[in-house]
């Protein structure tokens, strides 16, 4: 365990204190997108022919698609030809030498988070596959995982070493033509993580990846594929941080999960990409497609997310409940402060018999932020005895923010039992007064009440994430009261 810890410590300490621009020489492609760029990305990654073909098909589909505009968010049009679609660090050795390069404001924020990464990693024996810009630069714990037969590597490595698995599963959950951003991702995705858990194996540790966006104007197009074979179990953690930057950056990731009979995948995310400053300047555009396919009977996919970052979030982790008795879960806390805009939720598609889904969504709006829940529960005609319960609560802090709910229910089987409830409220003066009267500062009182509001979701997070999430929430809401 100690060597493992050191590994992580050295890896993490080398350069990971959120929120700085690592000034290294990125091997970037010039901005712009055409078939040449797609071919160049594929060539640079030494991909086999099938990958190139797959990317080109996606690119051609993308050309015919239109940018979606149905989300409850507003932003200036994105010029896709001003984005550079590939950026890789030239060498592992180019690390920032000191913290002086870091924006002190952000450092302060992360101090307040109070949880050093290495400690977080040590707490759970987390294996870290750090995606630095677009190329995976380090993977640890490989041995222990390979003993169990678990494949956990960067997407590029998977293409190289396990092309048959990639070819078999890539795009089977989120096809290239799925949506505008998924098509774009399919054409130009740079790297990401790949996990395969063989039959009957319970993955011996929580798997974790940290993404960060680096190099100005580089869109981050990650692709993650997790396959849990029959009777296996895996818990995957994803955390995001991003450096301070004034220009908006595009992040269009795709995550695909496949769960076979009796398998379970737990996917947890803490997302705190740079949200822009108090005046709404800068910040990440986070347009993500995440979908899980419960392909076998009795399988289960559970999404838990804590979304506090990004200027604009557009994200709907979904479950296709194909197998009989399969279970889908979605637990979400979405916080939007200042000028942030979030349009997030989930889709539960009931296809198999006796499928169950639970949705718990907690939205918190503060400042001038707009926070929307958008969810779909669809029960297909053959899905006998489907069951869904949705609870979606919004908390408003301040006069200028907005909280919105757009739940869709499409029910085609009479045996379905569907319940949806939603409430919107603010922190009441009574609650605050009660806390203040007992000597708790207003800010602490708000944090306490908000944490209580989100408890149902936090308890679903792996322990180390739960601790961080609470701290993150407090930081995110700073300045919201007063």
């Amino acid at each position: 365990m100690s060597t493992e810890t050191e590994n992580i410590e050295s890896l993490v300490n080398r350069r990971y204190e959120h929120g700085f621009v690592t000034d290294i020489d990125s091997d970037s492609l010039p901005p712009g997108l055409d078939e040449g760029v797609v071919r160049a990305i594929s060539a640079r990654k030494n991909e086999p022919e099938f990958m190139l073909e797959w990317r080109l098909r996606a690119y051609r589909l993308w050309l015919e698609m239109r940018e979606p505009n149905w989300a409850h968010v507003h932003y200036p049009p994105i010029d896709f030809n001003k984005i550079s679609y590939f950026s890789a660090p030239k060498s592992d050795k180019d690390r920032p030498k000191s913290l002086d390069e870091v924006d002190p404001k952000l450092l302060e924020t992360y101090d307040k988070l109070g949880i050093p990464l290495h400690e977080r990693a040590r707490l759970a024996g987390v294996a870290v596959d750090a995606v630095f810009d677009s190329v995976s630069v380090a993977t640890t714990f490989k041995e222990k995982l390979s003993e169990a037969g678990v494949i956990f590597c960067s997407f590029s490595e998977a293409v190289e070493n396990h092309p048959e698995l990639v070819q078999k599963y890539l795009g089977t959950v989120v096809p290239q033509r799925d949506n505008f951003y998924a098509a774009l991702n399919s054409a130009v995705f740079s790297d990401g993580s790949f996990v395969y858990v063989p039959k009957g194996v319970r993955c011996p540790m929580e798997l974790s990846t940290y993404f960060r966006i680096n190099a100005a104007n580089t869109g981050q197009f990650e692709r993650t594929l997790i396959v849990a074979d029959e009777g296996s179990y895996v818990s995957y953690l994803e955390g995001c941080t991003a450096p301070m930057r004034d220009e908006n950056q595009l992040h269009a990731a795709v995550v695909e999960l496949v769960a076979f009979e009796g398998a379970e995948i737990k996917y947890s995310t803490v997302q705190n990409w740079y949200p822009g400053d108090e005046n709404g300047k800068g910040g990440i555009y986070n347009f993500v497609t995440k979908r899980g396919d419960c392909r076998g009977a009795n399988s289960k996919i559970s999404w838990t997310q804590v979304e506090t970052g990004s200027a604009i979030t557009w994200k709907y982790p979904s479950c296709i409940l194909r197998g009989d008795n399969s279970v889908g879960e979605f637990y979400s806390v979405a916080v939007a402060n200042n000028f942030q805009q979030a349009d997030t939720g989930t889709k539960m598609i009931h296809i198999g018999r006796n499928t169950r889904s639970t949705i718990v969504s907690k939205g918190i709006s503060a400042g001038r932020a707009q926070n929307a829940y958008r969810g779909l529960v669809r029960v297909m005609p053959q899905a006998r005895d489907a069951r869904n319960h949705t609870q979606c609560d919004s908390l408003l802090i301040g006069k200028d923010c907005g909280a919105h709910t757009f739940p869709y229910m499409e029910i085609r089987n009479p045996s379905a039992r569907i319940e949806h409830e939603a409430t919107t409220s603010k922190i009441s003066a009574d609650q605050l007064f009660y806390c203040r009267q007992r000597g708790i500062s207003e800010e602490d009182a708000v944090n306490m009440i908000v944490n209580g509001f989100c408890k149902e979701v936090f308890k679903e997070l792996p322990m180390e994430f739960a601790v961080e999430a609470q701290a993150l929430l407090n930081v995110s809401l700073e300045g919201a009261v007063g």
Binding site: W70, K399, A403, M409, P414, I418, E421, K426
Partner: protein, 427 residues
């Protein structure tokens, strides 16, 4: 060009051939807008679940046959039937033309006139309202004078139908309630005739300060007929609307209920019941816009679905910035009786103020087996037990309908519809 456009030339001719009156200029302007946009398509969020292709098709065939004024020999029969069972004062609008009811115009505190007499140009900002304004022969204007109270409900009977060629009719009513007035309205949609028919109607209600209106809308069209209907209600301070809508008939029915709260302490109570059987598609879109607060809105819709049918319910409450003290509640409950029924429900909240209390709840389910067993164990046969339970499900809407004069008739037609539905689903 939209796939659901209508042929330009034929449409222009149809507009030109309408009776020459004060609406002519307005028709042209509305026509230009409609030609630009055509019918809304399923690519639009608000029309995602309702495809107007069949309506566009009826309209096209109607234009091709020279856009005749729809006539059905049996329309008057249907009017008499309704008159016989609901004893209130009716204004009859047959195939878009005001045919009867002017005798009421003399009532105290009430004026009734046509749009052309008043030179009232109907507004248009939605594609279907455009179409309505473009093809409207004339509209009906009802004015309830300030502080006048009317205990006797006024009925608006929209009867349409065509016997041989496809028919399209446009109906428009504007109701203005002055300060402190009170009135009750029953709006009844019926149709008859063998040919395909599309009815497109717009009803606008404007409630001044302290005005109060009770409103019941009953839609009992013939099984083969289609309808798009828009109701726009605007409320000033301390005004109250109690509205109930019942959808029992029609093949393809879309209702838009748009309520605009522009004054403090306004109250909106909306109830709705839709009962759909084989081949029916009933879509109810409700939008309540709280522009100022404090104000209260409540809406409860219930649906009973049998056979191969599809119902859509979309309830939206918007709380605009500064509308503090808003209390908005929406609920929607659905009972599915058949394997082939589909419900698409979407309760939406858009909130831009923080001193608010908003909630919504939606459920979809079937008849509880335990309840069914209980009733059967008490000697009811399955069909009676089913009927009792479905009746109970819809009862809260029927019994809260605000106008007593139509209560018996409503109970009877709901009962009849449910009987047909439970028999079908049993088979």
């Amino acid at each position: 060009m939209s796939v659901l456009a209508l042929p330009d030339k034929a449409l222009r001719t149809a507009v030109r051939e309408l009776p020459e009156n004060a609406l002519a200029a307005n028709r042209q302007a509305a026509l230009a807008r409609f030609l630009e946009r055509g019918f809304p398509t399923t690519r639009l969020e608000d029309w995602k679940y309702t495809d107007l292709t069949s309506i566009a098709d009826i309209s096209q065939r109607w234009l091709e046959s020279g856009a005749p004024t729809a006539t059905a020999a049996s329309v008057s029969g249907r009017v008499e039937e309704i008159r016989a069972v609901v004893g209130i004062d009716w204004i009859v609008i047959g195939n878009g033309a005001i045919v009867d009811g002017t005798h009421i115009a003399g009532s105290e505190g009430l004026s009734i006139a046509t749009f052309s007499e008043l030179k009232h140009a109907p507004g248009y900002e939605h594609p279907l309202a455009d179409l309505n304004a473009a093809l409207l022969p004339d509209g009906l204007h009802i004015h309830v004078h300030a502080h006048s109270h009317h205990d006797r409900p006024l009925g608006l009977l929209f009867v349409d139908g065509a016997d041989s060629q496809p028919g399209v009719t446009q109906t428009r009513v504007f109701i203005e309630l002055d300060e402190g007035s009170q009135a009750q309205f029953v709006e009844y949609h019926a149709s008859i005739g063998e040919a395909d028919h599309y009815a497109n109607s717009v009803v606008e209600l404007s409630l001044a300060k302290g005005a109060s209106a009770d409103y019941v809308r009953i839609q009992a069209r013939d099984g083969g007929h289609t309808q798009t209907h828009r109701t726009a209600i605007s409320l000033q301070a301390s005004s109250t609307i109690r509205y109930s809508g019942f959808d029992l008939g029609g093949r393809l029915v879309r209702n838009d209920l748009d309520i605009d709260i522009g004054g403090k302490e306004a109250t909106v109570l909306v109830g709705g019941l839709y009962i759909a059987g084989d081949g029916q598609h009933i879509d109810n879109h409700v939008r309540i816009d709280h522009r100022v607060g404090p104000a209260r809105s409540e809406q409860e819709f219930r649906g009973i679905l049998g056979g191969r049918c599809r119902c859509v319910w979309n309830g939206k409450a918007i709380v605009q910035p500064g509308a503090d003290g808003t209390d908005a509640e929406q609920s929607n409950h659905n009972l599915l009786l058949s394997e082939r029924a589909e419900i698409d429900a979407k309760p939406e909240l858009e909130i831009y103020a923080d001193e608010v209390k908003c909630s919504h709840g939606t459920t979809v389910g079937q008849i509880d087996d335990a309840a069914l067993f209980y009733l059967r164990s008490r000697g009811l046969d399955k069909q009676d037990a089913m009927r009792a339970l479905t009746r109970a499900f819809g009862a809260s809407i029927v019994s809260h309908s605000p106008i007593a004069a139509v209560a018996d008739h409503l109970t009877e037609i709901v009962e009849r519809r449910l009987t047909a539905l439970t028999e079908d689903s049993d088979a």
